[in-house]
Subunit: 121 residues, 2 copies
Amino acid sequence: MKDVVSSCPIEEAMRVLSGRWPTLLLYYLKDGTKRFSDLRRDNPTVSHRILALELRKLEVAGIVRRTAHAGYPLRVDYDLTAPGLKLVPLIDALGDWWEDTEDDRAGRVSSSAETRLVAAE
Amino acid sequence: MKDVVSSCPIEEAMRVLSGRWPTLLLYYLKDGTKRFSDLRRDNPTVSHRILALELRKLEVAGIVRRTAHAGYPLRVDYDLTAPGLKLVPLIDALGDWWEDTEDDRAGRVSSSAETRLVAAE
DNA sequence: CCGTGGTTACAGAATAGTGCGTAATTTACA
DNA sequence: TGTAAATTACGCACTATTCTGTAACCACGG
């Protein structure tokens, strides 16, 4: 994945939203503030390390806000920023699109999918 | 990327849209029918192998239609299916969101991003 | 010792790129 | 006239790069 300085907003947006976790984290955070360990419990298949990395990526992108409370036992909260909140309905729309078009997309996996053959003229 | 049979439409949608190319291909295909070599020219950094794989993925997902014309020199057309067309405005909305929230996301890369410190109560 | 949030080191898995081969027809050129 | 080369859309094998997981460690109060 080279940089290629895309200048295309779609490509840039996808750079941070791509992958399995970003949208899931958005999904869980839309209900409100969560802590690191909450998010781990929400989806137990993400590794400790990756969760930290993904959260950091979203934080740097300005989608998630990280709030570290001083003192011990160490406590950190995560919630969505204003842009993050604005993103949620778009993600939801994507989910709706997937469901609404399910019949039409006709996940015909075993056959040759959508391919059609046309005789040469 | 394990399977985990998500049952979450967002996760499933992201499984096919994740990565650098799917949205880009959508972008180029929204103008109309394109051939394999056209798409290669549109974004020269994608390798032929990956382009073929990505197109096949979108085809199986029912977003792109592949039309192979019989005879040589082999000719194949790609265009969007109805679900694919419906997806385009959502992708565009994502790009708009990225642009519109640019100031607010404040890409403060060098500093500690959004992190804030709060004194313990 | 435990739990919290996080980082680093190393290993293994997944993904991407490179180059070669293929098919039938047209064109190129000695 | 004969044959070599180009064309198109890939598939395959091999390598390079990148990503992800595991485990260990840190800080500290309880």
